[in-house]
Amino acid sequence: MAMLEVNGIEVYYGMIQALKGVTFQVDKGEIIALIGANGAGKTTTLHTITGLLTPKKGTVTFEGKDITHTPAHKIVSMGIAHVPEGRRVFADLSVYQNLRMGAYTRKDKNEIEQTLEIIYERFPRLKERKNQRAGTLSGGEQQMLAMGRALMSRPRLIVMDEPSMGLSPIFVNEIFDIIAEISRAGTTVLLVEQNAKKALNIANRAYVLETGKIVLSGDAKDLLNDDAIKKAYLGE
């Protein structure tokens, strides 16, 4: 059984249809990439999964439970964390406070402290800057914070929206290394990226979205060598 099943979701913004029946699935342990151009519906898809949007038609199922109409604030405790586009760290709060906010739904203080230590180990920069205001971090550090914050809820599935956007090439590589590491540590990853090449390089499988529909899917390695993909998304 798939961990996450998205089945024929149709999402509207007012009169405008953003998703025209998107279907895909994520299996436990995979890294799945969702690629596509601006406005294809990638972010809309993620927002529908984590409850920020509700589809007019279709269903979202996570670990066998129908979460189509579950509100966003209840999704986290079910095991899905969302790293939003543009990082959305709490700029006025410290790095530490941001991370604690990620564990908002968790109760056990000792376990939260343990997770915090694991996050600090994975992101030593965040530990160095734990008392600094998040708004003063660089873009790459904010991205790490957003990821660390999401991991604080100990998700089984982490969805990431454009984690490499607006980062310097060095940080882009680092962020993708971290994503691979998160996956190795046992968290399933659903990744939305405009940097199709990088995304396909670390993903197991990928889906290509075009104007609200999945137009292509397959093994990431195959898609990397697909002529149409090369032309449209890899700039070759």
Binding site: F90, D92, T105, R149, S153
Partner: protein, 294 residues
């Protein structure tokens, strides 16, 4: 000596403004809306105490408790019925205009129920006055209590925001509603809680205000509400310490203005000061720079 006593009166009135301003500033910080009906909650709270004590003959403490509960329920109800459905409206003006309408609705309801006659608010604070400097400086018990209550409320609120989960949720929601939801925070619940706290404080402010100025009409809350709004903007809207500083300064300016310049011009002076402050520092004394997202 008279200067000192004016100053203390000003601080006391300012404490009431500060308590009211908290309601404005917290709701603005968290729901990003101006609740212009907030001043009228004060009036409702005062009428509840008036009815309980003068008509039903209850113990004042019980009456105040009932007023706090009544206003809390009213505030949450108003948010749920009138403001929440408009939260995703295309224009933020929709909820602002609704708030103004809600203000008139409350005033007219009070007019309908209690009539237009000025009611004499019962004397429920019976603390003795404090006499200093051989009786030259007299501080009323009401003034002392008002200042004390303001200090306690401020301290309690800051501890609440810092130390509790609900307080942390408020911080998160005030910065970014969407991201807060992704942390598992119930944004609607947090906003409702903010209205509950603000309205409970409004009830307390109503009691303190009417104890100092004991004439109660359906419009009693209106002007203090607007002055407290000015105080909130003055201190930096969205900031809890800003509400305290803005409130106290406004109270002191108002009383000193009345005493030394002109009692007719007191409001003109208050609003004049606001204009000057906003010209020099548009975000208010403790306000943050608002960065528009591109």
């Amino acid at each position: 000596m008279s200067f000192l006593s004016y100053l203390i009166n000003g601080i006391s009135l300012g404490s009431v403004y500060a308590i009211i301003a908290l309601g404005y500033t917290m709701v603005y910080g968290i729901a990003k809306m101006l609740n212009f009906a907030h001043g009228d909650i004060i009036m409702i709270g005062a009428y509840i105490v008036f009815t309980c004590v003068s008509t039903a003959g209850m113990h004042p403490a019980l009456a105040v408790l009932l007023a706090v509960i009544g206003c809390t329920v009213l505030g949450v109800l108003i948010e749920r019925v009138a403001y929440r459905p408009l939260r995703s409206a295309a224009s933020p003006l929709a909820v602002l205009i609704t708030a103004i309408g809600m203000s008139y609705l409350l005033q007219n309801l009070a007019l309908l129920i209690f009539g237009a006659n000025t009611k004499n608010f019962p004397e429920i604070i019976t603390l003795p006055s404090l006499s200093l400097a051989d009786g030259q400086l007299n501080i009323t018990g009401t003034s002392l209590l008002t200042i004390g209550v303001c200090v306690v409320i401020m301290a309690a609120l800051m501890i609440f925001i810092r130390k509790t989960k609900a307080g942390q949720a408020m911080l998160a929601v005030s910065e970014d509603k969407g991201a807060a939801q992704l942390m598992g925070i119930n944004v609607n619940g947090t906003i409702a809680l903010t209205f509950a706290i603000g309205s409970a404080l409004a009830a307390i402010a109503g009691v303190l205000l009417c104890s100092a100025y004991p004439s109660l009409t359906p419009y009693t809350g209106s002007m203090p509400g607007i002055r407290a709004f000015v105080a909130a903007v003055f201190g930096g809207i969205g900031s809890v310490p800003g509400a305290l500083i803005g409130g106290i300064l406004l109270g002191v300016i108002e009383i000193l203005g009345r005493a030394y310049i002109s009692s007719q011009l007191a409001d003109a002076i208050v609003f004049g000061v606001l204009i000057v402050v906003l010209l020099v520092k548009p975000t208010g004394i403790l306000g943050k720079n608002i960065q528009e997202k591109v």
